[in-house]
């Protein structure tokens, strides 16, 4: 079953996490962008993360893509804390230093476009943590996000150290989906390989 599609972005694509990409993902996790996050030391842990990425997408908890440009894994774009009934989700991009602002924005736009069209998610949040690059805010602005709140000491970076979190939102102006009779939906389980009734 497939829940996470490969989507084109300028200069490359975002694609589901795959075991073949573990070396590239490990490089990414050795350079965490988030303050207080330690570099990953055990590559084997990424096997579990890839398993989780499939389970998260299947149960509409989250979705994860690798960002690939110029034939290289340069980052990940993810949605987490997905609340399907409230049509909202929190997005996140993790990138290597080589990931440009344009690539970051392109990946975010592609993921948001898919979640918006396929799952009718309307409200996208992004949490920028004090200490992260200001370039991330440029990418957010490019995608239409605006600052909604600054959460004081919202992120813990050490035993007694904290950073503020700026929470950005982009809310779609598209009409909300109209509920249909349960069971009449052809898109069974949102499985991209089984969008016709009777297939599995």
């Amino acid at each position: 079953m497939k829940f996470t599609p490969e989507l084109e972005i300028p200069g490359g694509c975002i694609k589901p996490l795959h075991y073949d990409d573990i070396d590239g993902l490990f490089e990414l996790y050795k350079h965490p962008e988030i303050p207080g996050q330690r570099p990953l030391e055990d590559k084997e842990q990424l096997n579990r993360m890839i398993d989780y990425s499939v389970q998260m997408a299947a149960t509409q908890r989250g979705m994860m893509w690798a960002i690939e440009t110029e034939g290289q894994i340069k980052g990940m774009v993810s949605g987490f804390d997905w609340q399907p009934s409230n049509l909202r989700i929190v997005m996140r991009v993790d990138g290597l230093p080589a990931l440009t602002v344009e690539e970051r924005a392109g990946a975010l736009k592609a993921a948001i476009g898919f979640l918006s069209k396929k799952y009718h998610v309307r409200n996208f949040a992004y949490q920028w943590i004090e200490g992260q690059s200001d370039d991330i805010k440029v990418a957010l602005s490019e995608c239409g996000f605006t600052l909604a709140a600054r959460l004081r000491d919202g992120w813990r970076t050490g035993n007694t150290e904290f950073s503020d979190v700026e929470q950005y939102h982009w809310v779609s102006s598209d009409d909300k989906p109209v509920p249909r009779k349960l069971g009449d939906d052809d898109e069974l389980g949102q499985n991209l390989n089984a969008n016709k009734r009777g297939e599995s």
């Binding site: 909604a148 004081r152 000491d153 813990r156």
Partner: protein, 179 residues
């Protein structure tokens, strides 16, 4: 470790599932007590019993803790104050309260320090956050008077009675409570 406390005029206690249904229903059936969350007021007492059972289970797993504020002089429950969405990694939690008309700033200034001190000193929580439906002016004034800071407004957080609801975010860090 006891989760029950006492002040000069109030008992701050965890609810008892098979005893507090009537008192909780009396409190949570008032629209003024729940409109800021926002949530519909309860309409039948069985809802209060369900809520008590749910809260007991959430407490057992340390997902949440809700205290009833009982006035010593007459035994009336004038408020419920609790924490939920506890993030033990980030050391923060969301505070929620439902207040009757008899619980104002003076009463909160007596009971909240006990709860907040427990949360910061015993549970080591650093940040308490409360989210209010935008326009909840009465609640907002209480929070500000108690030392909470308004941090912004999160748009379209839920749908309630056909409306998209924005939520204002207030927070209190360790040591900021004004009592």
């Amino acid at each position: 470790m006891s989760w029950n406390f006492e002040t000069e005029h109030f008992l701050i206690r965890l609810p008892v599932s098979d005893e507090d249904g009537t008192a909780l229903f009396k409190l949570l059936s008032q629209n003024s007590a729940v409109a800021h969350i926002p949530r519909l007021p309860m309409t039948v007492e069985a809802q209060a019993l369900d809520e008590l059972r749910r809260i007991a289970m959430r407490f057992e797993t340390r997902e949440a803790a809700f205290w009833l504020i009982e006035r010593k002089s007459d035994g009336d429950v004038i408020a419920r104050i609790g924490i939920q969405y506890i993030n033990w990694m980030m050391l923060n939690a969301q505070l929620q309260w439902e207040l009757s008309a008899e619980c104002g700033l003076e009463e909160l200034q007596e009971v909240l320090p006990v709860i907040v001190n427990y949360l910061s000193q015993d549970l080591h929580l650093h940040r308490l956050e409360m989210r209010l439906r935008t326009g909840s002016d009465g609640q907002s004034k209480l929070l500000t008077a108690l030392g909470f800071s308004c941090e912004g407004t999160l748009p379209s957080q839920q749908e309630f009675e056909g409306e998209d609801i924005d939520l204002d975010v207030y927070s209190l860090l360790t040591g900021e409570l004004k009592a």
